[in-house]
Symmetry: D2
Subunit: 481 residues, 4 copies
Amino acid sequence: MMTKDQYIESLRKLNLNLWMFGKKIENPVDDPVIRPSLNSFAATYELAEDPQYEDLMTATSHITGKKINRFTHMHQSTDDLIKKVKMQRLLGQKTAACFQRCVGMDAMNAVFSSTYEIDEACGTKYHENFVKFLTRVQDEDLAVDGAMTDVKGDRGLAPSKQADPDLFLHVVERTPEGVYVTGAKAHQTGFVNSHEVLVMPTIAMREGDEDYAISFAIPTDSEGITLIYGRQSCDTRKLEEYNDIDVGNKVYGGHEVLVIFDHVFVPNDRIFLNGEVKFAGMIVERFAGYHRQSYGGCKVGVGDVLIGATALSVDMAGCAKASHVKDKLIEMVHLNETLYCCGIACSSQGSKTKSGNYLIDLLLANVCKQNVTRFPYDIARLAQDLAGGAMVTLPSEADFRHPELHAYIDKYFKGVASVSTEDRMRVLRLIENMTMGTAAVGYLPESMHGAGSPQAQRIMISRQCNMEMKKELAKKIARID
Amino acid sequence: MMTKDQYIESLRKLNLNLWMFGKKIENPVDDPVIRPSLNSFAATYELAEDPQYEDLMTATSHITGKKINRFTHMHQSTDDLIKKVKMQRLLGQKTAACFQRCVGMDAMNAVFSSTYEIDEACGTKYHENFVKFLTRVQDEDLAVDGAMTDVKGDRGLAPSKQADPDLFLHVVERTPEGVYVTGAKAHQTGFVNSHEVLVMPTIAMREGDEDYAISFAIPTDSEGITLIYGRQSCDTRKLEEYNDIDVGNKVYGGHEVLVIFDHVFVPNDRIFLNGEVKFAGMIVERFAGYHRQSYGGCKVGVGDVLIGATALSVDMAGCAKASHVKDKLIEMVHLNETLYCCGIACSSQGSKTKSGNYLIDLLLANVCKQNVTRFPYDIARLAQDLAGGAMVTLPSEADFRHPELHAYIDKYFKGVASVSTEDRMRVLRLIENMTMGTAAVGYLPESMHGAGSPQAQRIMISRQCNMEMKKELAKKIARID
Amino acid sequence: MMTKDQYIESLRKLNLNLWMFGKKIENPVDDPVIRPSLNSFAATYELAEDPQYEDLMTATSHITGKKINRFTHMHQSTDDLIKKVKMQRLLGQKTAACFQRCVGMDAMNAVFSSTYEIDEACGTKYHENFVKFLTRVQDEDLAVDGAMTDVKGDRGLAPSKQADPDLFLHVVERTPEGVYVTGAKAHQTGFVNSHEVLVMPTIAMREGDEDYAISFAIPTDSEGITLIYGRQSCDTRKLEEYNDIDVGNKVYGGHEVLVIFDHVFVPNDRIFLNGEVKFAGMIVERFAGYHRQSYGGCKVGVGDVLIGATALSVDMAGCAKASHVKDKLIEMVHLNETLYCCGIACSSQGSKTKSGNYLIDLLLANVCKQNVTRFPYDIARLAQDLAGGAMVTLPSEADFRHPELHAYIDKYFKGVASVSTEDRMRVLRLIENMTMGTAAVGYLPESMHGAGSPQAQRIMISRQCNMEMKKELAKKIARID
Amino acid sequence: MMTKDQYIESLRKLNLNLWMFGKKIENPVDDPVIRPSLNSFAATYELAEDPQYEDLMTATSHITGKKINRFTHMHQSTDDLIKKVKMQRLLGQKTAACFQRCVGMDAMNAVFSSTYEIDEACGTKYHENFVKFLTRVQDEDLAVDGAMTDVKGDRGLAPSKQADPDLFLHVVERTPEGVYVTGAKAHQTGFVNSHEVLVMPTIAMREGDEDYAISFAIPTDSEGITLIYGRQSCDTRKLEEYNDIDVGNKVYGGHEVLVIFDHVFVPNDRIFLNGEVKFAGMIVERFAGYHRQSYGGCKVGVGDVLIGATALSVDMAGCAKASHVKDKLIEMVHLNETLYCCGIACSSQGSKTKSGNYLIDLLLANVCKQNVTRFPYDIARLAQDLAGGAMVTLPSEADFRHPELHAYIDKYFKGVASVSTEDRMRVLRLIENMTMGTAAVGYLPESMHGAGSPQAQRIMISRQCNMEMKKELAKKIARID
């Protein structure tokens, strides 16, 4: 396995075509805006080095028998599924941000079992291709981005009906050695910090969509790929002269990029689906299922930090004993642990796929994510309630460091006598960061839309819930023949 | 194990001092008001006879190695805890009511581990007493009521400060052979259908409360016990001439009684706590924990029936395809499965006690029950939304059977042409039963108050949530030393 | 104006063809099941006699200049609309039930303005017919039922597509003197206590539906009308030997009946719409609008009683000072007053119709009712939370009055020392009545479905909200041309 | 009345001691960060010039009989109170931001009636002082900031118990000509755009707090006042080279400052309370009441823009016809209009004070604000749901304007063919602005805490709700003597 430092060095070797704020970024690793997201990703390597987290952070490869980072593991049991969730909660607690590596893990587990079944049905060799890729990922402890979401254009139209055919990524040329693809994947979390990208189709498909039914893995710096960095609320605070307090979370962050594929080559042995339209839906459903489980871990860990910060804020303001304050903190915990229950339950109720790895319970994983589209918003609202108005009216750190203003701010933003004003400001800025700033992007809209927008889960819940069985139960009780 | 029929016959031998509607009930087994609750309880025997449910309904005694009903089992693993929840969901699905036997199972598991630890600390022999009792329960497949909730009088006063000392059950006389107790246990679910009652203290206690710190098991028809049957919404519909449709659920039901102990004798070998005040809280906490888990199973099963009935009602009204109707059904499923997630999760994360049986995760079990105090109300509201107004304006069955009125009702309560009016009435009456009638008692207020009212869970969530750790996480992110 | 007693006597003269529990009811006025609903209706007469309520309960006829009961008044100002809401809150507070007379008031106001506009457009004389009818209603202070909801059959089919054409009320024969109608109106609130019924179409109509586009008023005991009484949760408690405590609300109640029209004659001068299909929607929309306003008054008054009862229950249990208890009572008030705000606001923003009477603001009235489909459920849930489990496990009054049991019940259901057990039982039974019993029918499912089910309001909100204007506002801010 | 331009020019004459980002701001009027807030404030002048808004934006002075800006008006009727709310909704619609002038209006109305009653009780001349001040404000159409919220320090301690006595503003020196005050007012909305500040005490007071019971008005640039600008989420986007799209709302904004009073002189004729401790609570309660009403206007107007922007975003993405999308837009409208109902209702039910101006209904105004602490969060969550993930992953405007990237972004962020990508970006950035950016400060945390945090309203609801009357109603129904 790579150490954190080896990982960071390995990224320096990538030759990404990355743009941000209208400029090409030659050195993303040391860019102050991007670096916090790298630090979060790097935590997945760092904690794997720490003996106290070995059980959660590492696993034994079912291919090679070697110890590997759990993020590259094919889950071999429901216990593995549960440990995945616990690992994610741990990393959320340590980073208070999106650590990005789940997407690849979830994509790999989905493609692993799907390729097995595609080969079984179609006589293809995708599983062999994939296992070869996977083995290298495990051996070299690579960071993999899973890329599913197409930009989609007009949501009312199918891929082939769009005004511009590239609004869904598709094969534009076929050669004996492989295929060329064009299109774009939106909202790509952690792409800049990844060595490889594993591309999947974005929706279930039907006959006629063959060129869109494509899955493959290639290096992130492959020729023809252009990246445009998504801007986040408060992103440029990281560029300010005083960038310690106001950023809220100085060390960790997340990022998302638009990934444009402009006639990009994919060699044959890196292809995992190529025109078998009826299996596109399987990959989507399984990836989404795993990723909806993931949110029952990572967001819970982030929630722990937000709850802790809120508890500190009321301690510092001297109102921790008010009954409504205690009650709101309990509600925050209650909601957060309900999410955790869902993450644990869909893992506990997982089952073995034909390929041998374990899939979560799809119904419960969708229930999990559906709750994630709701409760973090409630938790954030309660955090803003308890933190009080100062969270959004605090002066800047530059004011706080200014010789003429420091004493005023120090005096008038003081809470309880025993806590320094600076510490109080740090906590309030962290809450701002998590509910309105850069981390809010991950904690709120990403909780809403990541792994599929709420309506996507509702459709899955409807499909998976076995309503006919429930009707039979009711008929029996009502004594209807 | 007893068969369903043997169980019913065994109840005939009890000599209960039971009163209802101002009359002594000499034959509860065949009483039309009480019988449905017996049928629900009997289902715990009936399904254990059914090979297809063997894995869920039965277990192997860790004492005798014999096959026993799971309701008498000491959980030996987290897998046992999960099976318990699944068994409860199954029974909820089959009865659409409270089947009552969980209380005893939860009480026995709580007292089993607690007595072990009391003996360890105090040199008593309670665990031996308890194992002897338990062995008989397992061998004879007895029905056991767990009795915790005292009537409590003025909630603002401690047991010993009440105007009437009997408002909490307590020892009133001590002899070499045992003790005499006086007091009352309220809301006793399934007592009338039980052979034995296992009494526990109702709250944590302190020095001075020794007489109130008492736990024991005795036959339900012991001398000095008087039972007064609690009346339920719509209870007397079961007594009407036409008692088929309007009752909603003709076969199954639940009941609760006030159990009055008037100088009742308890022999020494049936005593499991006797004055060790500091362990009262342990029994309460563990019983409550197990019982809060239980609600993540049974109420989910009942919810399945209500969802199924609601789906039937919209099919029958011809509006199943309306998007808002579909969406509300999805929401009902989502809420119900969220409860199930909580039941599964607190089981999956259980751990071994010193005595060897398994205890659920207390934090998650309390989170589970807290959600149970909310979501069934939402599910019931959505059921009433979709069922439409006819649910509360339907004519009586007597009208429907009346020669002059039948044709009118048959004509004007018709929904879609393919479904008989009678079947539609049956479904609507079932929904009425579950949201306003006898079953609503179990599905709504009992979800609220059974196993502890909502505030009790909030206190436990507060105690169990490790807020200090969360504060440390936040301090680290905010870089406060 | 009639006195309460005159009103009751006047009902004795009606010759209703009424059935309940399979029997013809010859004397509804003195029937113990029906009488509480009459008492509620009678309160609209009784309070009008009371000088302290004169301003709310009475008005000046714009036709005759005479003092009339406000329930027969055509609203002449927004102030009248507000007084209507306040009158309804008052009556809800006094009866804790549905007092039934609003339907007629709302129907009359809707038909008054609609007939004016129909005549203007079509050259008909419906307004003249209606004013003549109205003048008699005002002069004789008659009780009028407004009948809109058809039984509807298959909700997926239009009136004329139903398997049975009578599933929507329609004209089946036309003569020079009038028309004959057949069909049924469901969920008719207060019909049994009314002198006249004002029938309206149930939905907007189109060409081809001419026979269904019919509105008229006739005596409730007209030949060919059959009534079947809807049964309510706990209705037969009123028939028990001890019918004082367990009924919860002994004096007041509500009722709903199925009204069957079997070839019923309507004379020409009582017809207010007859085939002008494009005006059916206007009557529906206006009646629904007025009636959705009404719920912002009456349910608030009923809510006041439920909140008061809940506050008493916690006083009596000795837990009124617990912070969570106080907070839940505040929440109940908050929700209840939010409903009141909606009732007041849609009245305050009303406007004059062409006919001269005032119409509420339709958008806000629909918002009002939409909240009424939600908040009473929350209020009832909080009431059950605070009331505690005893509400559903109390023994019957027969037990309480039994010489052998009285002392036990008196002793063990005692709360704080200063309150009698009987009073505590009375309060708990009232809460049961309002959340699960006969009054719950009015407070919960009727709040859901009365004046239109929730989806009906959502459609109206969508139509009335002027989304295009909001888009323009956003475009301007975003500086999109 | 001043024109918009005169108002802006008048601000140039102020000599404010204002700091931001560690620098003294010499020219706030033209500062790019501050200017949008000035533009919002200026809209209160601009719309008053527009004849189509004359009825809402202007009023007739009850002192001079002259036409004045409604923001300086003492409400003379409930109709005035309603027009106030409508004016605020209008301005919210036009600015999508906080236009700041309400605070002064609400403060002036509260101090007007309170001083009258203080004088009546204490024989003081505060009302005369105040009317003189008010007359000048009306005549010169001045902008007035109302300053209530002290920084408060340790919330668990009373003013006089704080470690630092200045944590609540207080009199530090008394001279024959007036008093000197020291302290700070936090979260001062619009101070920088105001000519005068009207200071009020922050809480009810008791004997011993005389020095803290102080109310007065002085120019905002009085000697000894220092202002520190509060930083907002995304504030520096306004300073970027491309500051057109990413700011979301280029023209309008809000601001809040910390106002430090360091030994500031107040002349006698500008004092409106000076030691009469028992009247501090009256001023607080009335100001809070008026300001809680205000939120039922301004936030509704802002909500209109957010709803409109969300509707545009789904039009542009091609998913406006999906039933769940339509339903969520309806829910947003429903919630927004519920807030409006509360604003209208507390106005409609207002009453005349002894001084002659009108006060809102205090119970309903607190209910109004309580809902404002909830629904904007729900509306914002739904906006983020419908807007989709692009809202937080869009590239920067600098990227969009970059020649090498423009075509890519234009191609891949395209929604429906008929709408330009730039327009789609504008709408998404507006939604970001309102839910996470600078405007979110006003729409979310300010909705939570402005005019008092949620718990403050709950306390007032508890005090105002007349629970004893509700208990009496319940007793009567339950027939308890």
